[in-house]
């Protein structure tokens, strides 16, 4: 480590890379494992040492705000987790058709293994679908460098560029060597209006341009230093392709592989760090080989593509033939096995049987009281159905609460409740958090009100985004009530309760009444998250300490 190195999470290295690339604005929606990218930038902004950086109502608004900044000539970063791109898919896919002015970079964090997500979708498919380049770092330093390069590429090809990382790198710290920062772009919108107004006639021209530029992207990727080939000295009948963190786990075991194959006898290897796939390099690597092992973090994206690229005589091995697990993360052990190495000797210890310890709501969490009150209210009722949403309160689906029966994606609690009620269920309750409500729950409530569907929506208002580390909710609590009324829920059926143990009986009673109402009811359960209280106390203590020091 040199003395000017900084120790950063890869998430933070992306943020710093963006700042040093001359960032003009950054937007995002919190979601593990991407959250720390924007947190780093917001902290800089709040200290007056960085450009505008802000959390947005959802990923779509975040992407569009970044797109607006790019149209205005500024370099813009937008951050989200993998499933967030489903929400922002519309602006993302269509932004490939405009003539990007200020570099537009989407930094997206996938969560293979689903540490904190409902699925493992691989964002590389989105980059391919939209026809835009994607860079995938394997170290904190690369996260920094690739983000910088992504902005340059975006302006060079006039396309948005994706930087994809995965959980283990996003949340791992290491030293990063920063380089000389570049200045911000001046303000100045794109002069070519037609390239930004996607009416069908313009859209057709722009789509044609997107298709034609693919060849240039492939040429860039073929020449990119992010796609290095290590010549092999061993038998040419076996070669390796790595992608993402697959590279690191392969290298972790490389010493043992060399010991096994003989010094200097390692197979040739291509690492893919830049997409579109360098197909010519793959063909070259595979010429004359019999088997090609693909080790990539995420879906078998490269593997599937390679099956199409290579002649049928070559066996392509990886996640599709079972050499590596199809789901979950790669790790040093499963990659080792795929490399044909025996397991490392472990300490011959026999652990006694251990109880599991799944995540759970904090002791005293207000959500627990809300779940208990609703469970009590539903007791003995026929035809009940409960949905919930994404956030800490999703943990209420586990024992001891086990109240929600369905939980799919951001905002779905309300709309699914509406569908289930219209399908015929009589006593339907949907749980949603305050920030999830603002993210994409409001529109479902509009549907419910417009058709007077008999549902009871519980908005769990704990005043922060608790799950991702306590970001502020977009709007203050009181405003949520106004929104609910403004959408048209009858004032008599909008209630605010205090989900505290002392109010348990009264709350259950109120839920019982509202569930019986044959129209839309909204109950706002308002009590602060314990983590929020802790954080407040901490910062208050810090302030007092600081004041004391100034005396």
């Amino acid at each position: 480590m040199g003395s000017d190195d900084v120790v950063l999470l890869a998430d933070e290295a992306i943020a710093l890379g963006a700042v040093h690339a001359g960032l003009g604005a950054a937007y995002g929606y919190p979601g593990t494992p991407s959250t720390e990218i924007l947190e780093y930038l917001i902290a800089l902004y709040e200290k007056g040492r960085g450009p505008r950086a802000a959390w947005c109502a959802n990923e779509k608004t975040a992407y569009e705000e970044a797109l607006g900044a790019s149209f205005a000539g500024k370099r813009a970063l937008v951050t989200m987790k993998h499933v967030g791109l489903n929400v922002a898919a519309d602006p993302f896919v269509n932004s490939a058709l405009v003539a990007i002015k200020g570099g537009l970079v989407l930094a997206i964090a996938d969560d293979p293994g689903m540490h904190s997500s409902q699925d493992e979708q691989d964002s590389r498919f989105y980059a391919q679908f939209a026809g835009v380049p994607c860079l995938e770092p394997t170290s904190q330093q690369e996260a920094y460098e690739m983000t910088r390069e992504a902005f340059d590429l975006s302006e060079r090809f006039q396309l948005p560029v994706m930087v994809r990382i995965t959980t283990r790198l996003a949340h791992s710290r290491s030293g990063v060597k920063p380089r000389e920062p570049r200045a911000e772009n001046p303000l100045g919108k794109c002069a070519d209006k037609a390239a930004w107004t996607l009416l069908p006639a313009n859209g057709r021209r722009r789509y044609d341009r997107l298709c034609k530029i693919q060849g240039e992207l492939e040429a860039w990727s073929a020449a990119s230093a992010w796609n290095p080939v290590a010549a092999g000295a061993g038998a040419a009948d076996f070669v390796v392709v790595t992608g993402g963190l697959g590279r690191n786990y392969y290298e972790e075991n490389l010493g043992d592989l060399e010991a096994r194959l003989g010094k200097g006898k390692l197979p040739a290897r291509l690492h893919v760090g830049a997409y579109p796939l360098p197909e010519a390099k793959i063909r070259e690597l595979a010429a004359g080989t019999k088997r090609i092992l693909v080790i990539e973090e995420g879906s078998p994206f490269i593997e599937r593509a390679i099956r199409g690229v290579l002649p049928s005589g070559v066996a392509v091995s990886g996640k599709l033939d079972g050499a590596l697990p199809r789901i979950g993360e790669l790790n040093p052990d499963n990659v080792r096995q795929a490399m044909g190495l025996p397991p490392r000797p472990a300490a011959p210890l026999a652990p006694p049987p251990l109880p599991g310890r799944p995540p759970q709501l904090c002791q005293g969490c207000p959500h627990a009281d809300s779940y208990q009150a609703v469970a009590k209210a539903l007791e003995g009722l026929p035809s009940t159905l409960v949905t919930a949403d994404i956030g800490c309160y999703a943990l209420g689906a586990l024992p001891p609460f086990s109240v929600p029966e369905a939980l799919v994606c951001m905002g779905a609690s309300i709309s699914m409740a509406v569908g289930a009620a219209e399908a015929g269920y009589e006593n339907v309750v949907g749980f949603i958090g305050d920030s999830t409500f603002l993210h994409s729950g409001m529109t479902g409530l509009v549907d419910a009100v417009s058709r007077e569907v008999a549902v009871t929506i519980v908005i769990l208002d704990n005043s922060i985004v608790a799950m991702t580390g306590g970001q502020k909710t977009m709007l203050p609590s009181a405003r949520i009530e106004e929104i609910v009324r403004g959408i048209g829920v009858e004032p008599a059926h909008v209630a605010v309760i205090d989900p505290s143990p002392s109010q348990a009986a009264r709350n259950a009673e109120l839920f019982r009444r509202e569930i019986a109402h044959r129209g839309v009811s909204v109950v706002i359960a308002r009590r602060e998250c314990l983590e929020a209280i802790k954080a407040k106390k901490k910062s208050a203590a810090r302030e007092t300490a600081a004041k004391g020091a100034c005396k």
Binding site: R168, H171, L245, A346, A347, G356, R357, P359
Partner: protein
């Protein structure tokens, strides 16, 4: 030189603050470090682990392989046994003695501690007691850093410097308490007792 550590505990126990001290000290000595952390849902009262890798050479990946850990450093007994398959032959288990009970089926403590102590190289540290003696029940984490320190190839002075820096930023009076906690943990773990299997 490489030293791979699995840090174990329950979400909210401050596993990351321990990793930060050790990693920071290693960096100050010019070593390479990779430290993987756990954020998000897993943090809410569930079992959490962090991987800390220290080396004087390039570190290829963020995760410690199975059979690769030189140490398991745990904030409580059950969690110290959850990651045994990561331990190298001859690796050390250092755990706080006090259980963190937030599940209904937490096993009986006495046989649990016995199981840990029957592992060839282990130290069960009365961390809560030592922290209180040092002046603050909340200094448990620094007791554990101290207890681990004698098995990590990083000078204890470097760790002490990091502790002083961390707590000076919070409140000056905490520095002394936490350095004391560190020292007592270190003395406890390195009091010359042989490991069970070597006795």
């Amino acid at each position: 030189m490489t030293c791979d550590i699995i840090l174990a505990g329950v979400g909210g126990q401050g596993v990351l603050s321990i990793a930060a001290i050790i990693a920071g000290a290693a960096l100050d000595e010019g070593l390479q470090v990779r430290q993987s952390e756990v954020h998000g849902m897993a943090q809410r009262g569930g079992a959490v682990s962090a991987h800390l890798r220290i080396s004087d050479r390039h570190i290829a990946c963020d995760l410690v392989p199975s059979g690769g850990a030189d140490m398991i450093l745990s904030m409580e007994p059950v969690e110290s046994l959850r990651y045994l398959s990561f331990l190298k032959p001859g690796g050390v288990i250092v755990t706080a003695a006090e259980p963190f009970v937030n599940i209904p089926d937490y096993p009986d403590l006495a046989p649990l501690i016995k199981a840990i102590e029957s592992q060839p190289r282990s130290r069960v540290v009365a961390a809560a007691e030592l922290a209180k003696k040092a002046g603050s029940a909340r200094a448990v984490n620094m007791v554990m850093v101290g207890a681990a320190s004698s098995f990590i190839p990083v000078a204890s002075a470097s760790m002490e410097a990091r502790i002083a820096k961390l707590f000076a930023a919070k409140e000056a009076s905490l520095v002394e308490v936490n350095l004391k906690a560190f020292a007592s943990g270190r003395a406890f773990a390195a009091d010359g007792r042989a490991f069970a299997a070597e006795a």
